[in-house]
């Protein structure tokens, strides 16, 4: 029994991590129609910036409020990076989908190599509050606090993104802009600003995922973002492009599936099951669980 509770809760923690990574990706992919392969880089930037801040920024540190400051700095760095990327690299290429994909691929190669050139290829210990290393006993299961932290963070991020889409006009503008940028402009809206904003939010979400993911892993390394990205893509696609709620469902499905299959089945089967789930979902419902058009 406690094995099931443990697997469920840690599976949800994993799902939360996937969702954190996928949410920004989904937003950018679904709304701005950019398949952002550099998302993993944003993750890395967020993680390294947090790591750097905890060691060097006055007021920041690995514990308590200092840690919050460090994470905030990381998120700010990720946001800034995303905004710059949008302004400099993506903006001139709107409506040239493939070129955008390529630029983000190029960027992720170059960016990750740059991280590696600066901080080395090896994993570095990540500063984090002591309590994140401990476990909380829940119904007899020793549930890692890091996982619980991820679950809380993912829930907050989900709420924040939904609120943004529901209560502001930006969701509307962006969805319209993806269909026909020109026409949005012709309605008197500076669509470029809206797209930059989407990137900023995507970057912030990625950076947060990077920082919290590193807390969870205990280390930060240049390749980390990239390895999470493939699952994030799967989550985004299963959930339905652009649907943040869909991504949340998909993340839970993928996280739990992986966790249980890994425990009860043979190793490696978890990954194959996830890929199979993707293929089945796409063949039955090519638009994903929540479909292409969704307000949230």
């Amino acid at each position: 029994m406690d094995a099931i509770i443990l697997l469920t809760l840690t599976g949800l923690g994993l799902a939360a991590l996937y969702f954190l990574v996928a949410s920004g990706l989904s937003l950018v992919f679904g709304l701005a129609d950019v398949l952002n392969f550099a998302h993993g880089l944003f993750l890395g930037v967020g993680a390294y910036a947090t790591w750097w801040a905890a060691g060097n920024l006055p007021g920041a540190g690995p514990d308590g409020l200092g840690f919050v400051v460090a994470v905030a700095f990381g998120v700010a760095a990720g946001t800034l990076m995303a905004v710059l990327v949008e302004l400099v690299l993506i903006r001139p290429l709107y409506s040239r989908t493939i070129e955008q994909v390529l630029v983000t691929v190029g960027l992720s190669l170059a960016g990750v190599a740059l991280l590696q050139a600066t901080w080395g290829a090896d994993a570095r210990p990540f500063p984090r509050p002591e309590w994140t290393r401990q476990v909380t006993p829940i119904l007899g299961a020793q549930v890692p606090n890091g996982g619980l932290l991820l679950i809380v963070a993912a829930t907050l991020v989900l709420g924040a993104i939904l609120a943004f889409l529901r209560w502001t006009r930006y969701g509307l503008i962006i969805r319209a802009g993806v269909e026909n940028r020109e026409m949005v402009t012709a309605l008197g809206i500076d669509v470029r600003k809206a797209f930059t904003l989407v990137f900023a939010i995507g970057g912030a979400a990625a950076a947060l995922a990077g920082a919290l993911g590193s807390v969870y892993f205990g280390t930060v390394s240049p390749q980390q973002g990239g390895s999470l990205l493939i699952f994030a893509f799967i989550v985004v696609v299963i959930g339905g492009m652009g649907s943040v709620v869909g991504s949340a469902y998909a993340a839970v499905a993928v996280g739990l599936l992986q966790q249980f299959v890994n425990y009860y089945g043979t190793s490696g089967l978890g990954d194959i099951c996830v890929v199979a789930l993707l293929a089945v979902v796409l063949l039955l419902r090519p638009q994903g669980i929540a479909g292409k058009v969704a307000t949230a």
Binding site: E99, L107, A113, A117, V237, M241, L278, L282, K292
Partner: protein, 376 residues
């Protein structure tokens, strides 16, 4: 209108298939012979002791240079084959690496584990890769657009996982599987015979270009070009889009598998790198770098990409880079940094790819000529 736009989001930048247009112009006479000239140059290359410092490590006929060129040629062919899918039919597959890998591992396993001679292993691997592409295509083509890209990616991912899992020690897992050369003709083994591998690669490239060219200029090619623009329209004209797409997908898969066979011989083994989705992405980069849907663009793109991929590694470790100040030399010594930067720049400065360069130059020339005429 009640018809909702098809979700095909990722159609490549449009280019008119050159095979389908009879182009006028002054180059008209010379142009058909240019590829021939290039081929002749490629054929006599191994006889030249010319040394191009900075471009190649050794003389043109040194094994190192020939090996590098052979790898480049294979990827030129691979990119041309991928372009049949992407540039000419508008199908964005993220799993093309799978069929290439099927060729590589197929050959390697058949020779090394099953002990077959090359002349049996190679056709089997190619047929196997083609059938695999046909089967997966039959399923994946039920979806379109990004969904199609993701389904192909998913299948390729399963392939990658299977290779990494190393069932029954068949694939060698992450360490790869060196080729047992006892099943390979002696002429293809050993550094001194690198030139034969070069010729093999060249032959592969020529075959692929010829096939792609023929197919694109054929009635089927015309349908494929139409599919790229508007699939629904093709249906209303009385043609089954699914069948045509499946043909293109299978054919491209077969060409990739053949490339795999050649690559396996050149590299002398298989390693899991080639199953990764990054390979498909780099194929995409090659095609776009060169110019999708053009005859020579993807070939040039593939050759150039592979060349840079290999050469940047040695540039990165060269003394010139070390001499630079730390903030420059450190990133520059990361080949991936340079490669990534190069193709970001390429996307910006060569829109339409290398092949687009020619027409842009022509445009410039025309407008200059027009300008001067107006003045006189």
């Amino acid at each position: 209108m009640t018809e909702v736009k098809s979700p095909e989001t990722a159609a490549p930048p449009a280019a008119v298939p050159s095979e389908l247009t009879e182009e006028p112009g002054r180059w008209h006479r010379v142009r058909p012979y240019l590829p021939l000239v290039a081929l002749v140059v490629a054929l006599i290359l191994p006889y030249s002791t010319l040394h191009l410092p900075g471009i190649f490590e050794g003389a043109l006929n040194s094994p190192g240079t020939l090996q590098l060129l052979a790898v480049c040629l294979v990827f030129g062919g691979l990119a041309a084959g991928y372009d049949l899918l992407f540039g000419r039919t508008g199908m964005l597959s993220f799993g093309h690496a799978l069929y290439f890998a099927a060729g590589v591992y197929g050959t390697d396993i058949l020779i090394t584990h099953a002990g077959l001679p090359l002349w049996q292993a190679a056709p089997l691997a190619i047929v196997g890769g083609t059938i695999l592409a046909g089967l997966i295509g039959a399923v994946a083509l039920r979806t379109v657009g990004i969904a199609f890209a993701m389904v192909t990616l998913a299948f390729a991912q399963v392939g990658a996982i299977l290779v990494a899992r190393d069932f029954g020690g068949l694939t060698g897992g992450e360490e790869g599987l060196p080729l047992d050369v006892s099943g390979v003709p002696a002429g293809l083994v050993g550094v001194a015979n690198t030139v034969n591998l070069y010729w093999l690669a060249l032959a592969y490239l020529v075959v692929v270009v010829f096939v792609v060219h023929r197919v694109s200029g054929s009635p089927t090619g015309r349908v494929l070009a139409g599919l790229r623009d508007d699939e629904r329209r093709i249906g209303v004209l009385g043609l089954d889009p699914y069948r045509f797409k499946l043909v293109a997908f299978t054919l491209a898969g077969g060409l990739a598998a053949a490339g795999g066979v050649v690559y396996c011989l050149i590299v002398g083994g298989a390693s899991p790198h080639i199953t990764s989705s990054e390979l498909t992405l780099s194929l995409l980069v090659m095609v776009v770098l060169g110019g999708p849907g053009t005859r020579w663009g993807p070939v040039l793109g593939g050759i150039l990409y592979m060349y840079l991929d290999h050469r940047l590694v040695s540039v990165g470790s060269s003394g010139a880079v070390d001499a630079l100040p730390g903030f420059l030399s450190r990133p520059l010594s990361q080949p991936l940094f340079v490669l990534g930067t190069v193709f970001i720049l390429a996307v910006y400065f060569f829109p339409g790819g290398l092949a687009g360069l020619a027409s842009r130059v022509a445009l410039l020339r025309d407008s200059l000529r027009l300008g001067s005429r107006r003045q006189s």
